[in-house]
């Protein structure tokens, strides 16, 4: 795993993109974000993954200036985001649920957005309303869970904000609507390249969108880098138990499955070529771990390490 605090410390004050520098925001009960640093490359689609309660939504709220950090700095384009009108108008946060929208119709909500986002694209909003088959006269609270997600997606895409933060935008969407969203996101991104950050638990179907992945673990950024690098180091090893038994106690082992006399191991890091050759020579099969599976294993490992009531 790459330690981002080390990796990003040199260019944390670069004048472009979103930068978080040693940011903490702790809620009562201990949840939140701890000393997190992160630099997001501009004009890219970033995926943010992490277990429930790991601090993803808090990170997005800090980036959007909706929460104030207890310590640390949040900069966009080198300027602190909090209370900076021009900077904030270029940032759009789409939450999983907008409680303040409940008593408004979609027409009203988008007319507000048209006034408050300088680059609002009414054409895109209308087009997406048609694609998602939404009725503009319906109140937000009367929409299904999926409909509410669609309304949020429309706000995110039509805002044309140079940094758009989507917090679990596909919650409640059926498979076909999710496809429409992924397609619309890519089309819009190719026409108007900008920065998207999207949290999701459906990694399998969205991993192809992401150029970069941020893995949030217990309120901190455990990994940030190219999406392919996260899973490239990891590997499945399948072979005779007698050969692999010792590896089950290795710190890198995320998952163990016994299949009769055979073992399937998931190793977090098997990037050393000589080690790979060693196992291949012994007749062990090596295969890549899909990102979704890797995420599940890492989350389970973190949860297991957390058992015993240790604080963050």
């Amino acid at each position: 795993m790459t330690d981002l605090r080390v990796e990003s410390s040199e260019d944390v004050h670069s004048p472009t993109g979103m930068e978080l520098f040693r940011v903490s925001k702790v809620y009562r009960g201990g949840q939140g974000v701890y000393d997190a640093s992160l630099v997001l490359n501009s004009q890219a689609i970033h995926g943010m993954i992490g277990a429930n309660g790991s601090g993803k939504s808090t990170l997005l709220a800090l980036m959007a200036g909706q929460q104030f950090p207890d310590s640390g700095q949040v900069l966009y384009g080198g300027i602190p985001v909090h209370e900076h009108a021009h900077t904030l108008s270029n940032i759009c946060l789409v939450k999983t649920h907008e409680r303040s929208w409940e008593n408004y119709t979609l027409k009203q909500i988008f007319s507000f957005a048209a006034l408050l986002y300088p680059n609002w694209d009414a054409g895109t909003a209308e087009e997406l309303m048609d694609k998602f088959q939404l009725n503009a006269k319906k109140k937000y609270k009367n929409l299904s869970r999926g409909g509410q997600s669609m309304a949020g997606i429309i706000k995110g895409l039509a805002s044309r904000a140079s940094l758009t933060l989507l917090d679990e935008p596909v919650i409640g969407l059926d498979a076909s609507m999710r496809e429409i969203f992924y397609k619309a996101l890519l089309e819009d991104y190719s026409r108007f390249p900008r920065t998207f950050v999207m949290t999701t638990h459906l990694i399998d179907e969205s991993e192809n969108l992401f150029e970069y992945i941020t893995y949030v673990k217990k309120g901190n950024v455990a990994y940030h880098g190219p999406a392919e690098d996260l899973s490239a180091k990891a590997s499945y090893l399948t072979g005779a138990s007698s050969l692999l038994e010792d590896l089950t106690k290795d710190q890198r082992t995320l998952h163990v499955e016994r299949l009769g006399g055979r073992l399937l191991l998931a190793l977090e890091d098997l990037s050393d070529p000589s080690e790979r050759k060693y196992w291949l020579d012994k007749g062990i099969e090596l295969s890549p771990i899909p990102l979704q599976k890797l995420f599940v294993y890492m989350t389970q490992r973190d949860a297991a390490n957390n058992e015993g009531g240790g604080k963050r």
Binding site: F68, E83, L88, Q108
Partner: protein, 224 residues
Amino acid sequence: MSFRNLMKFHWKDYRRAALTLFIVLFFVDILQVVLWRFSPSLDTGDANNLFGINRVIILIFTVINVIVTASITFPLMIGFSVTRRNFYTTTLLALVLFCISAGFVESLLFELGKSILPTLEMEVSSGKPFLTHWYVFTVSLLLVALITLLISSSFVRLGAMLGTLSVMLYVGMLNFFANYLPSIDFIDEPGMVPLVSDTPLLLIVIALLGIIGWLLYRRAPVKV
């Protein structure tokens, strides 16, 4: 986003409720006059009651409207990437404009009443001149609006316990001021400070409430 667009936002957010208020006022006044004229046995009081009811309706509407501002408009605007400063300044301005408009409508109804009701054998006390009436009612309304904004913001920002404490503080403050200014008890004329001479002090109180309100909103988070 421009100041103009922020004010347009408030106008879009307010206009339906404000229009509803003015329509309600109009129909309530007509109903009262009709009842007074054709069903005197119902005893709707004298003609001055009619204006007292108008003011109470406007006050209730203002209180509800301000509670909505604190609990809904704040997260709504911040959710559309508006800064807290822009939210607060434009909200205060919209509130002042609303109070001026509501004061104007109420004063206009009072003037109309003064000229129409005597023809229906309903006597109306002469009251204050139009502009004075408008000014005094606007100040009274602003005071109520700002106090409500402060209390509802306290509930939203500080939670139920500190919010309740702030209500107690408000009641204490009212008692304190009432000792020095018995006229602001709002009893002689419902919903309106009777003495013009009291208004400068009230304007100072309104300004202080506005400053305290900003301290509450300055770093207010929006729930994740």
